[in-house]
Amino acid sequence: MATRRRPTAGDLLLLALLIAAVPLSRRATASGPGSERLLVRSEPAGVQVVDARRDGEFALVGPLGTTRLRLQGGAAWIVESPCPGQLCRRMGRISGPGRVLACVPNRVLVQFEGQADDVDGVSR
């Protein structure tokens, strides 16, 4: 080995494996801790735990009626709600640990599990 200067087939294979490891490791480390579970609280149903990786639509029944929650591509948003102000729909889409959607009149709370790793806002 001491006098071998040209790359060998083993070197090229190693190089290919390392290059392949870069996007694979990025995919493996991309999700933050706890961002794969969605906690859904509604009354009287209580707390449900939903797999955030699975797309779907959920009907959450509360005192005012049914709030429809859609989960797609790791993001969640309220599609329809019986509350008068429709603030919950204007909250838009949430994804990532610690993010919250709430429909207070209809007693619905949706939250991605885990600690948020950034600030909620900055005041100057």
Binding site: M1, R5, P7, T8, G10, A21, V22, T29, P33
Partner: protein, 197 residues
């Protein structure tokens, strides 16, 4: 490979790299001291060069580690790694600090993987491949220790893709340079050919 074991290792027979008499005892210690000095010098000089990208170092000192590994074996290389770490940290002012621990962890992991690669993979790869393996091991070991030291619950692993990509470049460059140095050393050991009358 000309020798199954490198000169200077415990239990080494008289075999040595082609054209080199076995080096041991005082002569070996003197050589290792020179190697360690060269490695520490490269370590310090590398940090004096302005670098726009933080944390990115070429790891030129690893060239010396790999050269010693190929020329004198794993144990000698470990001695040089230890001396280089202490000397380099002393001159950089980071002795026994977190940076010293991270450097040490990476350097030892790199040494271990490279020594194993040389020992069991001599037919599979050249010094370039060995250096690639060592560089990747260095990156993974440092991230593992950093996660443990700073109690980040694994959050620092998100840097793994970046450091793996970087290790490809640094490992390749140091491997090529180490390979060239070893080839030069082998050339220098060849007996001089007298000119025809």
């Amino acid at each position: 490979m000309a020798a199954d074991r490198r000169s200077g290792e415990p239990g080494t027979k008289s075999a040595a790299p082609a054209g080199q008499a076995p080096v041991h005892g005082t002569a070996l210690r003197a050589r290792l001291a020179l190697y360690a000095t060269a490695a520490a010098l490269l370590f310090v000089l590398e940090r004096l060069v302005p670098n726009p990208v933080p944390w990115v170092r070429l790891g030129l000192a690893n060239i010396v580690t790999l050269v010693v590994l190929l020329e004198h074996g794993a144990l000698s290389a470990l001695v040089v790694v230890g001396l280089r770490l202490v000397l380099g940290a002393f001159f950089a002012g980071t002795l026994l600090g977190p940076q010293f621990l991270l450097s040490g962890c990476g350097a030892v992991a790199s040494w271990g993987v490279m020594a194993a690669a040389v020992r069991w993979g001599e037919r599979l790869w050249s010094p370039i491949g060995v250096s690639l393996l060592g560089s990747a091991a260095h990156a993974v070991a440092q991230l593992a220790l950093a996660n443990a030291l700073f109690a980040t619950a694994g959050a620092l692993w998100v840097l793994l893709p970046f450091f793996l990509g970087l290790s490809i470049v640094t490992g390749g460059v140091t491997g090529v340079l180490a390979s060239a140095v070893v080839a030069r050393l082998a050339l220098a050991r060849r007996p001089a050919v007298e000119a025809a009358p």
